[in-house]
Symmetry: C2
Subunit: 221 residues, 2 copies
DNA sequence: TAGATTGTTAATCGATTAACAATC
DNA sequence: TAGATTGTTAATCGATTAACAATC
């Protein structure tokens, strides 16, 4: 079928898709590589190349049909209307995420939280918070593929391991622990690697200081 | 002075620095490119190259002295012990960040929050929450260079503009609005560009679904 | 010394950009 | 038709990797 699609392209496709949905809801029907490039901050050539690699074709003068783009990109990316996610660790960050209202707009649904602290459990809650020991069964039963790790650093590795064993393949990691999965997936379940994306806000902020500092230096020399 | 340092290198240096501080606190004195590479997930050659470009030298068989590394990397990156940050928008995310205890460990200090909702103001709070109209003066007076934007999307562009005018040069953007600063800084204040990093958690989660989906497809074909 | 590690050069790889023919 | 945009190829650029001499 389709050629190999680079990770960069996949991430851009996801962003095009968001812009396209906004454009459609505004009543637009056509779009040019030009417009889309501006919207996500890349050159028109990149947009055309991306579409070319996933075999989406436009009209030589009329640009691309938004409906068609949305349909094709959604198909390629495997976009589902329901995207169920579990959260391990219902502390400050975990709770904030459970209350985060933006998710539902995008079809993301936090289906359960897990914690080891009995005080935090709410089995009957709107989003149930269960004991962490029940995570593997829950993941298997509900065929969850994506999970958020917002436990303390000290618990990160063990939680990661058990989530992976249970079948989670995509991780959003809020700890500062480097979670590696290359070759760690049990062969019987998983011959491919997992995907771990890290969100490290204090590192992000530090990086801003560094980048601003160094840009200044460069400028003044 | 130093040659041009790529952004990739800068971001890696920041991560080495975090690992090095941990190693030092464990009593380690020396480290090999090997170890550091493992710790942040790059090859040893990348580590040596990074150090080479910032003119840090090791010993042909004894690796690198941790103290020296920390000192030099901190100097290059311009690491300060106090890293003051303001937050625009004290809703759910903004408040969670103000309460986030990890920041102080890294020397990051949220010095004030700003909001347009009178109900949210707390001028006498531990971290004062002031009216958004007072942000520019505050930033100028306290020479703040880094800010967090966690306002509703609809307010993002205007808030960004006023923060930039006031002198903020590094932005952590929690909205889904594409904030562009190329050429937008007022020349009198700023001949260099700003740095905007985006944190879009729902996009991150969506991307995990897409990447997992596509890795599966690739595998099974 | 032998073995291990640095530091650097050249080779490779992939992504981005430039350019332009095709064509609506 | 003239002008604008796609789609693709070749050129460029930068980052990563491989390889290995230097040397502790």
């Amino acid at each position: 079928m389709t050629d190999h699609i680079s990770e960069n392209t996949i991430l851009r496709l996801a962003r095009y898709l968001r812009v396209l949905n906004k454009l459609r809801s505004l009543g637009f029907v056509k779009v040019f590589s030009n417009n889309l490039g501006d919207a996500i901050g890349v050159t028109p050539a990149v947009v055309r190349k991306d579409f070319s690699t996933i075999q989406i074709h436009g009209n030589k003068r009329g640009g691309y049909a938004i409906d068609h783009l949305i349909e094709e990109i959604s198909r390629i990316l495997g976009k589902r209307s329901d995207q169920p996610v579990v959260i391990a660790g219902c502390g400050r960050i975990g709770t904030a995420l459970m209350e985060y209202t933006e998710f539902s707009k995008e079809g993301i649904q936090i289906v359960a939280g897990f914690d080891s602290d009995p005080e935090r459990l709410e089995p009957e809650g709107d989003i149930p918070v269960l004991d962490i020991s029940r995570l593997p069964d829950f993941v298997v039963e509900n065929q969850i593929r994506v999970g958020i790790i917002s436990v303390p650093d000290s618990a990160a590795a063990a939680v990661f391991e058990s989530m992976m064993q249970a079948g989670i393949r995509g991780f959003l990691n809020f700890t500062t622990v480097e979670l590696k999965c290359a070759g760690r997936c049990p062969d019987s379940v998983c011959e491919h690697e997992c995907v771990v994306h890290n969100v490290n806000i204090s590192l992000e902020i530090e990086n801003l200081f560094y980048l601003v500092h160094l840009k200044n230096r460069l400028q003044s020399s």
